[in-house]
Symmetry: C2
Subunit: 162 residues, 2 copies
Protein backbone atom coordinates (compact mmCIF):
# COMPACT_ATOMS: atom_id res chain seq x y z
CA UNK A 1 0.00 0.00 0.00
CA UNK A 2 1.35 3.45 -0.82
CA UNK A 3 2.06 6.23 1.66
CA UNK A 4 -1.06 8.24 0.73
CA UNK A 5 -3.53 5.45 1.43
CA UNK A 6 -1.75 4.52 4.68
CA UNK A 7 -2.26 8.05 5.89
CA UNK A 8 -5.92 7.90 4.74
CA UNK A 9 -6.43 4.80 6.88
CA UNK A 10 -4.79 6.45 9.89
CA UNK A 11 -7.19 9.38 9.47
CA UNK A 12 -10.19 7.08 9.05
CA UNK A 13 -9.18 5.14 12.17
CA UNK A 14 -8.75 8.30 14.21
CA UNK A 15 -12.13 9.64 13.05
CA UNK A 16 -13.95 6.41 13.84
CA UNK A 17 -12.33 6.11 17.28
CA UNK A 18 -13.41 9.66 18.17
CA UNK A 19 -16.88 9.19 16.66
CA UNK A 20 -17.69 5.82 18.22
CA UNK A 21 -15.96 5.74 21.63
CA UNK A 22 -16.58 8.75 23.90
CA UNK A 23 -13.66 7.89 26.23
CA UNK A 24 -11.23 8.47 23.34
CA UNK A 25 -11.85 12.24 23.65
CA UNK A 26 -10.54 12.11 27.24
CA UNK A 27 -7.56 9.96 26.22
CA UNK A 28 -6.73 12.56 23.51
CA UNK A 29 -4.86 10.02 21.40
CA UNK A 30 -3.47 10.72 17.92
CA UNK A 31 -3.14 7.88 15.40
CA UNK A 32 0.39 7.94 13.94
CA UNK A 33 0.58 4.61 12.11
CA UNK A 34 -2.30 2.30 11.25
CA UNK A 35 -1.53 -0.99 9.49
CA UNK A 36 -2.68 -4.54 10.31
CA UNK A 37 0.82 -5.39 11.58
CA UNK A 38 1.63 -2.22 13.50
CA UNK A 39 -0.43 0.56 15.08
CA UNK A 40 1.16 3.55 16.82
CA UNK A 41 -0.71 6.17 18.88
CA UNK A 42 0.73 9.19 20.62
CA UNK A 43 -0.92 10.58 23.75
CA UNK A 44 -0.32 13.62 25.93
CA UNK A 45 0.45 13.04 29.61
CA UNK A 46 -1.68 15.89 31.02
CA UNK A 47 -5.19 14.43 30.46
CA UNK A 48 -3.93 10.97 31.40
CA UNK A 49 -2.25 11.57 34.78
CA UNK A 50 -2.99 9.86 38.07
CA UNK A 51 -2.76 11.11 41.68
CA UNK A 52 1.04 10.78 41.55
CA UNK A 53 1.40 12.88 38.39
CA UNK A 54 2.50 10.02 36.12
CA UNK A 55 0.40 8.17 33.55
CA UNK A 56 -2.76 6.56 34.97
CA UNK A 57 -2.88 2.76 34.61
CA UNK A 58 -6.47 2.90 33.35
CA UNK A 59 -5.58 5.35 30.59
CA UNK A 60 -2.67 3.13 29.57
CA UNK A 61 -4.78 -0.04 29.63
CA UNK A 62 -7.39 1.73 27.47
CA UNK A 63 -4.84 2.99 24.94
CA UNK A 64 -3.08 -0.36 24.58
CA UNK A 65 -6.39 -2.22 24.26
CA UNK A 66 -7.51 0.23 21.55
CA UNK A 67 -4.20 -0.02 19.69
CA UNK A 68 -4.46 -3.84 19.58
CA UNK A 69 -8.12 -3.64 18.52
CA UNK A 70 -7.13 -1.22 15.76
CA UNK A 71 -4.80 -3.79 14.14
CA UNK A 72 -7.79 -6.01 13.36
CA UNK A 73 -10.07 -3.05 12.59
CA UNK A 74 -7.68 -1.80 9.91
CA UNK A 75 -7.18 -5.31 8.53
CA UNK A 76 -10.90 -6.01 8.18
CA UNK A 77 -11.40 -2.57 6.60
CA UNK A 78 -8.70 -3.27 4.02
CA UNK A 79 -10.43 -6.52 3.07
CA UNK A 80 -13.87 -4.90 3.23
CA UNK A 81 -15.02 -7.49 5.77
CA UNK A 82 -17.76 -6.35 8.15
CA UNK A 83 -16.60 -7.49 11.60
CA UNK A 84 -17.35 -6.93 15.26
CA UNK A 85 -14.07 -7.05 17.14
CA UNK A 86 -13.95 -7.70 20.90
CA UNK A 87 -11.19 -8.00 23.46
CA UNK A 88 -11.50 -11.36 25.22
CA UNK A 89 -8.53 -11.51 27.61
CA UNK A 90 -5.62 -9.26 28.44
CA UNK A 91 -2.60 -9.44 30.69
CA UNK A 92 -0.79 -6.28 31.71
CA UNK A 93 2.63 -5.85 33.31
CA UNK A 94 3.45 -2.32 34.50
CA UNK A 95 7.22 -1.95 34.89
CA UNK A 96 7.97 1.80 34.93
CA UNK A 97 6.07 5.04 35.49
CA UNK A 98 5.60 7.43 32.52
CA UNK A 99 6.32 11.10 33.28
CA UNK A 100 5.91 12.72 29.84
CA UNK A 101 3.90 12.52 26.63
CA UNK A 102 4.22 9.01 25.25
CA UNK A 103 3.57 6.56 22.43
CA UNK A 104 1.89 3.19 22.43
CA UNK A 105 2.81 0.56 19.85
CA UNK A 106 0.72 -2.50 19.01
CA UNK A 107 1.95 -5.40 16.86
CA UNK A 108 0.74 -8.60 15.28
CA UNK A 109 2.99 -11.08 13.43
CA UNK A 110 2.40 -11.70 9.69
CA UNK A 111 1.80 -15.40 10.49
CA UNK A 112 -0.85 -14.57 13.09
CA UNK A 113 -2.54 -12.18 10.67
CA UNK A 114 -2.60 -14.86 7.95
CA UNK A 115 -4.14 -17.40 10.32
CA UNK A 116 -6.71 -14.82 11.41
CA UNK A 117 -7.62 -14.05 7.77
CA UNK A 118 -7.92 -17.73 6.89
CA UNK A 119 -10.20 -18.47 9.86
CA UNK A 120 -12.36 -15.39 9.34
CA UNK A 121 -12.79 -16.08 5.60
CA UNK A 122 -13.75 -19.72 6.15
CA UNK A 123 -15.71 -19.52 9.44
CA UNK A 124 -16.80 -15.88 9.79
CA UNK A 125 -15.04 -15.87 13.15
CA UNK A 126 -11.40 -15.69 14.19
CA UNK A 127 -9.11 -14.91 17.09
CA UNK A 128 -5.72 -13.20 17.27
CA UNK A 129 -3.11 -12.58 19.98
CA UNK A 130 -1.65 -9.08 19.51
CA UNK A 131 0.58 -7.34 22.00
CA UNK A 132 1.30 -3.71 22.77
CA UNK A 133 3.71 -1.56 24.75
CA UNK A 134 3.50 1.92 26.25
CA UNK A 135 6.90 3.48 25.68
CA UNK A 136 8.93 5.77 27.89
CA UNK A 137 12.66 6.48 28.28
CA UNK A 138 15.09 5.28 30.93
CA UNK A 139 17.54 7.44 32.91
CA UNK A 140 19.90 7.41 29.89
CA UNK A 141 17.14 8.54 27.54
CA UNK A 142 16.85 5.12 25.88
CA UNK A 143 13.33 4.00 24.91
CA UNK A 144 11.94 1.26 27.16
CA UNK A 145 8.54 -0.36 27.62
CA UNK A 146 6.68 0.98 30.67
CA UNK A 147 3.76 -1.40 30.24
CA UNK A 148 3.34 -4.55 28.20
CA UNK A 149 -0.09 -5.87 27.24
CA UNK A 150 -0.72 -9.32 25.78
CA UNK A 151 -4.26 -9.81 24.59
CA UNK A 152 -6.63 -12.16 22.84
CA UNK A 153 -9.17 -10.59 20.50
CA UNK A 154 -12.11 -12.24 18.76
CA UNK A 155 -13.69 -10.99 15.54
CA UNK A 156 -16.98 -12.17 14.05
CA UNK A 157 -19.31 -11.27 11.23
CA UNK A 158 -22.09 -9.04 12.60
CA UNK A 159 -25.43 -10.86 12.75
CA UNK A 160 -26.99 -8.42 10.26
CA UNK A 161 -24.25 -8.75 7.63
CA UNK A 162 -24.82 -12.43 6.65
CA UNK B 1 -16.88 2.04 61.74
CA UNK B 2 -20.32 3.61 61.81
CA UNK B 3 -22.53 4.39 58.81
CA UNK B 4 -21.80 8.12 58.89
CA UNK B 5 -18.04 7.80 58.65
CA UNK B 6 -18.31 5.14 55.92
CA UNK B 7 -20.29 7.56 53.84
CA UNK B 8 -17.73 10.31 54.59
CA UNK B 9 -14.98 8.07 53.26
CA UNK B 10 -16.98 7.28 50.11
CA UNK B 11 -17.38 11.03 49.54
CA UNK B 12 -13.70 11.69 50.21
CA UNK B 13 -12.72 8.93 47.78
CA UNK B 14 -15.03 10.24 45.08
CA UNK B 15 -13.69 13.78 45.51
CA UNK B 16 -10.07 12.70 45.35
CA UNK B 17 -10.64 10.51 42.28
CA UNK B 18 -12.28 13.42 40.43
CA UNK B 19 -9.66 15.92 41.64
CA UNK B 20 -6.57 13.84 40.89
CA UNK B 21 -7.37 11.74 37.80
CA UNK B 22 -8.80 13.63 34.81
CA UNK B 23 -10.02 10.43 33.08
CA UNK B 24 -12.44 9.84 35.98
CA UNK B 25 -14.61 12.71 34.67
CA UNK B 26 -15.08 10.83 31.39
CA UNK B 27 -15.79 7.55 33.21
CA UNK B 28 -18.47 9.37 35.26
CA UNK B 29 -18.24 6.89 38.12
CA UNK B 30 -20.06 7.23 41.46
CA UNK B 31 -18.56 5.73 44.61
CA UNK B 32 -21.26 3.65 46.36
CA UNK B 33 -19.26 1.73 48.97
CA UNK B 34 -15.68 2.42 50.08
CA UNK B 35 -14.13 0.10 52.66
CA UNK B 36 -10.74 -1.67 52.63
CA UNK B 37 -12.48 -5.00 51.96
CA UNK B 38 -15.08 -3.91 49.43
CA UNK B 39 -15.40 -1.00 47.01
CA UNK B 40 -18.43 -0.54 44.75
CA UNK B 41 -18.74 2.02 41.94
CA UNK B 42 -21.69 2.60 39.66
CA UNK B 43 -21.17 3.91 36.13
CA UNK B 44 -23.50 5.01 33.35
CA UNK B 45 -23.26 3.17 30.01
CA UNK B 46 -23.60 6.22 27.72
CA UNK B 47 -20.17 7.85 28.27
CA UNK B 48 -18.53 4.40 28.34
CA UNK B 49 -19.79 2.80 25.11
CA UNK B 50 -17.73 1.35 22.27
CA UNK B 51 -18.40 1.14 18.50
CA UNK B 52 -20.87 -1.71 19.11
CA UNK B 53 -22.92 0.23 21.69
CA UNK B 54 -21.93 -1.89 24.67
CA UNK B 55 -19.41 -1.02 27.40
CA UNK B 56 -15.91 -0.25 26.10
CA UNK B 57 -13.20 -2.62 27.38
CA UNK B 58 -10.88 0.29 28.18
CA UNK B 59 -13.52 1.99 30.35
CA UNK B 60 -14.11 -1.27 32.18
CA UNK B 61 -10.40 -1.94 32.68
CA UNK B 62 -10.02 1.61 34.06
CA UNK B 63 -12.96 1.29 36.45
CA UNK B 64 -11.90 -2.10 37.80
CA UNK B 65 -8.30 -0.96 38.23
CA UNK B 66 -9.49 2.14 40.12
CA UNK B 67 -11.84 0.12 42.31
CA UNK B 68 -9.00 -2.23 43.34
CA UNK B 69 -6.67 0.72 43.94
CA UNK B 70 -9.34 2.33 46.10
CA UNK B 71 -9.37 -0.63 48.53
CA UNK B 72 -5.78 0.18 49.52
CA UNK B 73 -6.31 3.94 49.29
CA UNK B 74 -9.16 3.77 51.82
CA UNK B 75 -7.21 1.39 54.06
CA UNK B 76 -4.11 3.62 54.18
CA UNK B 77 -6.34 6.67 54.81
CA UNK B 78 -8.02 4.93 57.75
CA UNK B 79 -4.62 4.19 59.29
CA UNK B 80 -3.32 7.65 58.38
CA UNK B 81 -0.43 6.10 56.45
CA UNK B 82 0.98 8.19 53.60
CA UNK B 83 1.30 5.76 50.68
CA UNK B 84 1.82 5.77 46.93
CA UNK B 85 -0.23 2.91 45.48
CA UNK B 86 0.55 1.49 42.04
CA UNK B 87 -0.96 -1.27 39.94
CA UNK B 88 1.79 -3.74 39.01
CA UNK B 89 0.05 -6.51 37.07
CA UNK B 90 -3.49 -7.24 36.01
CA UNK B 91 -5.26 -10.04 34.20
CA UNK B 92 -8.67 -9.43 32.63
CA UNK B 93 -11.21 -11.93 31.33
CA UNK B 94 -14.13 -10.44 29.40
CA UNK B 95 -17.01 -12.92 29.31
CA UNK B 96 -20.17 -10.95 28.44
CA UNK B 97 -21.04 -7.57 26.90
CA UNK B 98 -22.68 -4.91 29.12
CA UNK B 99 -25.67 -3.15 27.55
CA UNK B 100 -26.87 -0.93 30.42
CA UNK B 101 -25.64 1.13 33.37
CA UNK B 102 -23.55 -1.10 35.59
CA UNK B 103 -21.67 -1.60 38.84
CA UNK B 104 -18.12 -2.67 39.51
CA UNK B 105 -17.20 -4.45 42.74
CA UNK B 106 -13.67 -4.83 44.10
CA UNK B 107 -12.72 -7.10 47.00
CA UNK B 108 -9.80 -8.02 49.19
CA UNK B 109 -9.84 -10.79 51.82
CA UNK B 110 -9.38 -9.88 55.51
CA UNK B 111 -6.29 -12.14 55.59
CA UNK B 112 -4.73 -10.36 52.61
CA UNK B 113 -5.45 -6.99 54.18
CA UNK B 114 -3.83 -8.08 57.44
CA UNK B 115 -0.70 -9.28 55.63
CA UNK B 116 -0.58 -6.01 53.68
CA UNK B 117 -0.85 -3.97 56.90
CA UNK B 118 1.82 -6.02 58.62
CA UNK B 119 4.28 -5.64 55.72
CA UNK B 120 3.59 -1.93 55.24
CA UNK B 121 3.99 -1.18 58.96
CA UNK B 122 7.26 -3.08 59.22
CA UNK B 123 8.86 -2.40 55.81
CA UNK B 124 7.13 0.72 54.47
CA UNK B 125 6.23 -1.32 51.42
CA UNK B 126 3.63 -4.00 50.74
CA UNK B 127 1.76 -5.81 48.00
CA UNK B 128 -1.81 -7.05 47.74
CA UNK B 129 -3.81 -9.13 45.25
CA UNK B 130 -7.34 -7.70 45.00
CA UNK B 131 -9.88 -8.72 42.38
CA UNK B 132 -12.85 -6.97 40.83
CA UNK B 133 -15.86 -7.72 38.63
CA UNK B 134 -17.99 -5.60 36.31
CA UNK B 135 -21.54 -6.80 36.82
CA UNK B 136 -24.35 -7.23 34.33
CA UNK B 137 -27.46 -9.45 34.16
CA UNK B 138 -28.04 -12.63 32.14
CA UNK B 139 -31.09 -13.39 29.97
CA UNK B 140 -33.05 -14.31 33.13
CA UNK B 141 -32.14 -11.04 34.84
CA UNK B 142 -29.71 -12.74 37.24
CA UNK B 143 -26.54 -10.79 38.10
CA UNK B 144 -23.40 -12.18 36.46
CA UNK B 145 -19.81 -11.00 36.08
CA UNK B 146 -19.13 -9.54 32.61
CA UNK B 147 -15.45 -8.98 33.32
CA UNK B 148 -13.14 -10.29 36.00
CA UNK B 149 -9.89 -8.55 36.90
CA UNK B 150 -7.19 -10.08 39.09
CA UNK B 151 -4.47 -7.63 40.00
CA UNK B 152 -1.32 -7.10 42.03
CA UNK B 153 -0.87 -3.70 43.64
CA UNK B 154 2.18 -2.32 45.40
CA UNK B 155 2.09 0.41 48.03
CA UNK B 156 5.08 2.27 49.43
CA UNK B 157 5.81 5.22 51.67
CA UNK B 158 6.37 8.33 49.53
CA UNK B 159 10.02 9.42 49.49
CA UNK B 160 9.12 12.78 51.11
CA UNK B 161 7.17 11.29 54.05
CA UNK B 162 10.02 9.46 55.81
Amino acid sequence: MNQASQSDIAKRLQRSLYDDIPLVHALALQVRIATPLRVVFSAPLAPNINDKGCAFGGSLASLLTLACWSLLRVHTWELDWPADIYVHTSKLLYTAPIWSDFEVVASLSPEALEQFSHDFASKGRAAALPHADAMTVDAQGEPISALRLDARFVAMRPADSV
